[in-house]
Symmetry: D2
Subunit: 398 residues, 4 copies
């Protein structure tokens, strides 16, 4: 539990033996954050040992758990992911791969999984392909990760994304694929491009940096501004702000310095996306801002409280005009697939008009990128991506 560097010592790695390993750095969304909910889930059961790591969120976990408990299963965590291992344990199928598919057919929602047995490794993506999962290779071995920047660190060669509905199986015979079924549409989470993923990663086979650069350019096309400088709310908006600067020819500057000691936002549940700005400190560079007309590029507005605080900081540093630009549409619906958004009533985009938000933030102008501009930036259409947080169109109906 805790940051990777705190949880593992060098000694803990020396103890690892064998030819197969999985790890997990979870942004916990379902089930409390405590030691029992740590992943990978590791169990000993009738078939031997099993480890499972899950990125995403199941939408039928509660009813499945209730059914399993009525039949006598005992859960040792409150995590939604534990239902998967109980379904595997209960399956009557003889072969493990069949028991896994049996279990997967019963669960609904977003799931990118790594499942390790004593002699095999499985990488699974749900039929809608909601969360990313990628394949790479190094020295004849296979590696899987959510973001491809992890491959760069270890020097692995990127191959491709795991496909929606694909179960990738790795064992002594090499890699092979099983399908768990097709759907009429996909539901790749578009928010991964806007905020979550690192710019040096490929997500669903697309460059995050390229997507963000285009978000900034599209944003200028839709919401131009006359200003002296363009500044990002660092770090997640830097690429989009550079795109805006290039399209507009307005100079790019680092007008806000972020205090990096605090750690990246989204990985610590207690300062999750719900209130990500509340605790993070930005410091304005007065010399750059004083007397200037400023375009601020940010990735999203959730409650609006953090944005408002930043506006105050900028005004105090002497900003003459502030033009706020958001690289996505207003967030109006909650996410059920693993991003920790607040209740609708707390989403400022769901309860206020753009003009009301502009007044609340106290800025000269406010512009949100349209859904069309967003899809253009990722070369996609609405049958490929989930935009439910912007339009309520959830890929899974219940």
């Amino acid at each position: 539990m805790g940051l990777v560097a705190d949880a593992f010592s060098e000694d803990s790695f020396k103890k690892l033996i064998g030819f197969n390993a999985i790890g997990h750095c979870r942004y916990s969304t379902t089930g409390e954050s405590n030691v029992r909910n740590i992943q990978p889930i590791c169990i000993n059961y009738g078939r031997g040992s099993l480890a499972l790591a899950h990125n995403g969120n199941l939408i039928n976990a509660v009813s499945l758990r209730r059914k399993l408990e009525a039949e006598g299963s005992i859960f040792s965590s409150t995590s939604d992911s534990e239902v998967i291992v109980h379904l595997i344990a209960r399956s009557k199928k003889k072969k493990f791969a069949d028991a896994l598919v049996d279990a997967l057919k019963q669960i609904k929602g977003a799931y990118s999984l790594l499942v390790m047995t004593e002699d095999e490794l499985f990488a699974v993506c749900d039929p809608y392909g909601i969360r990313p999962l990628s394949i790479a290779t190094i020295n004849g071995s296979w590696v899987f990760a959510s973001e491809t920047c992890a491959f760069d660190l270890v020097g692995a060669k990127y191959i491709r994304a795991v496909k929606p509905g694909e179960v990738v199986r790795v064992n002594k015979n090499g890699m092979s694929s099983i399908s768990i079924g097709k759907t009429k549409r996909y539901g790749h989470c578009i928010f991964e491009f806007i905020y979550f993923s690192r710019p040096d990663s490929l997500i669903f086979d697309i460059s995050v940096q390229e997507a963000r650069d285009k978000l900034g350019m599209e944003l200028f096309k839709e919401h131009p501004a006359i200003a002296d400088i363009v500044i990002p709310v660092p770090d997640s908006s830097t690429s989009a702000a550079i795109g805006y600067s290039k399209a507009s020819k307005i100079p790019f500057e680092m007008g806000l310095i972020r205090n990096h000691y605090i750690g990246r936002t989204f990985i610590e549940p207690e300062q999750s996306i719900r209130d990500f700005g509340a605790k993070i400190k930005y410091n304005p560079v007065k010399r750059l801002l004083d007397g200037k007309r400023i375009v601020v590029v940010d990735d999203s507005i959730v409650r609006g409280t953090t944005s408002r605080k930043i506006v105050k900081l900028l005004r105090k540093a002497g900003a003459k005009e502030i033009h706020w630009r958001i690289s996505c549409p207003p967030i109006t619906y909650p996410c059920f697939y693993g991003i920790d958004t607040p209740l609708r009533s707390e989403l400022i985009g769901a309860t206020h008009t753009v003009e009301e938000i502009r007044k609340y933030l106290h800025v000269e102008s406010l512009g949100y990128l349209s859904a069309e501009g967003l899809l253009r930036s990722v070369n996609g259409n609405k049958n490929q991506y989930c935009l439910a947080c912007f339009n309520g169109d959830y890929p899974l109906k219940n």
Copy 2:
């Protein structure tokens, strides 16, 4: 995990709310000593929450676990006690008390249990009554403990022992009893009197101090000696040595000082009864022993290595003659009911004659108390007690 004083801070008690509590200080015998095997076992399952503490050892745990796992149950520890909660969870009985009895009827072996649900508490003793469990009352509440000295510490009034095959149920309606069946004989563990229990406790309604006093007296009757002083191997043999001294009129002295910093033997598994003497330090009081004929009273000889070391210490301190007296018969069979004895091949009593042991210890005489003397000391007969470690007559046949 660890000693009670280390495992619990004052704060941990402040956090406890409610009207019901169980705790456990286990001398772990089955399942490794690790954090997953800590008791009470606490689970959330189909019926709500459940906590269970188990003293003793099940003899059919492995086969029950194999069967439960084949049906899809996932165990979270290697403890034999966990099968009981899975059997409860799997029971089709509607009422909890019925489900508990259902589970108890499937398990075999030694078990004194405390089982706590959200509104009830159950105290259970197996049909042979192998391990002790006693009932007391304080301020209108009910208290249960293995040894009655625990009642004295909190000021609770002793009532009686839980009977073999009795399920004592405590809820808002008070205390009541359920029977889980009768057996032709009982199997109270006689070793509790010899070594395990504290002299200030009652066990199976009998005073441990009185039993040990009589063990020492019987021992003198069966194996008298002409000597200057009687010394115990402290602390467990002190009462028996005083009994021997009183019967023989030979003065009692504390000729060996025990280093109490090391902690009581049997509670730490890594220095269990198998090698209890190896790490414990005794220091001889030279001034008392020099030039003397000495009777040493000890509770048992397991491997013989510790006894031999003590003999060397006494000789070095000047002992002229050493007469070794053991307050029970030779241990010749392993215990399957919760006492951590070694393999038969390592039991010196199983592999050597008394004369051979005497020579090995290098003492002038060696006397073991007979089974008859042992039973006389506890006012009992062989249909009440388990003497299997001395005679191989196990109450449960498999």
Copy 3:
């Protein structure tokens, strides 16, 4: 800080190199119990490195510290022992041994010291010989300890006690002695025999067990009783109770069981001699006490509260008569030499007559051993021992 077993891991010993080592297990009396006051005091200074361990208490530490601080010395602890290292550091003597003697001539009070430099070891006893310090040898090396039972554990051969006013010097040339001056009388702490030391130790070259045995015998001579059993308040009074039993022919029994999990009293400052009974739990063995006339032998009465609690326990267990016997005179004065006694106003022996104490304890009779009986038990006279806690006759006038 903490118990030895907690403070040191096996690894901490592996790191120790060299041919010389000192350690310390201090019953802290002066200076708060915190990490800065841990001993040995280890310093780097003008002459190199130095380590010093001190048993006892200096009576002129405050004025020496004030003087040293006025001259610019900076203390890093609140311990009285630190003045010694500053005096050594300030000495103008060229040779270390001369600087040490220079420092010792300035300090007053009780001090048994071990002082280690990079190539020498010094064992020092103050001119009155107040605290014990003994010499042993093992494999051609020299070992020093307060109590000789430490030598037995490691197999070292006892040689003799360090003499009052002796500085024993050990270096590559072997062992030699320096004198720091003679006094008209000695002041060996007689309380070491009564309570502090272990019965398996020699203190000031005398057996503690033998002394306690005689204390019990003298106590019977001075204060006989007609009773059924003699019981000790374990563990420190056990030897004296056996002595009383042997002299009186009244049977010895272990009527009180001590809970050893709590740890030995005097080593933990927070449950020091001031209130040693308050937290220690004794449990009576009802079967032994019920309906009996009992002699209880204890080593001392400080405040009287613990003794009174034990009397209540015994009465509750059925004791018919209680005859309380103390193996020393009433404590009426505080100790300035390292034993943590309370204010005079809190010493029941200083504020009440024996008859008043008897009534307070609620016992049938109460007998204290006389100073003469005490001195007889250790074969000594009042010019050899400090009995100041009983009679106010302090060896150092201050």
Copy 4:
């Protein structure tokens, strides 16, 4: 010891009482990094209590310590800063302020100090003004910090820098100044602008961001390049790279992503400036770099190993041409005033020509900013700044 967030809990702040406080986050350069060398140094001595925090490095600490130890002072750390408190303790001056000045006149080197007594606070800057120290005010109180970004975080109003040779004294009578002497020149560390300080800080009353912006512009004037993009080695070179981009009209891009989990370089001694690149991970954004001519702006080259690794990363990501630009001259001399540079023989700038370094890095062109360009960027001259690491002209001669 450790990061601020790890070393202090919220509870540790609740315990602080009083009206005065100092803290320290030291980049340890002299004395090992261990618990004894933690600052502030807190002592109790003849005048009461004292706390002292030191930024910088004394060059006569060893000889002062040797002298003090010969006179009997005992040091409790290996830190050069501890000599200051011993000099204060030894001073014969009656008033504390006089004793402080007395001590300061004996030390030589770089020192920005905070000294706290029970009722006063002193902020001190050495006569050359080597390390920065600034004054701010909040709610009628005075605040001091090395970097002004700390004032922004707590909302304090910046007043001015502490002057070279100034002792600022704060007590119940308010703020006043004492001078410890004038020098012919100053020696502000110019490396604070190049690398150390945050861009949102003022240092020596000058904006770090503005200085870095100008460094980048001057760098383009001296070393132009024909390229497709300008990228920084983040984060310390970002402002200079933006300056270069603005002057050159070549687009600015974030072509390297820094892994922020590792923590800021210079605060952890074990990954000090000597090998700051070795452990920090940069990840290239392939999509931005592939087939491009790239200007890389970095703040310095120490050993050259990290720069060379980055070049390899960029080539692997497809960079066609690499033009390396450094915003300062080659580092050719060690720093004695608190920056942890390696031996001259390990400084690539001291042992190789620019052309040799270019070949070693394997880049198309390499340009260092001149000393004149550097001084122009901070509006200064060589009598105000220390450029010793570039030219060997040390302000203090020994």
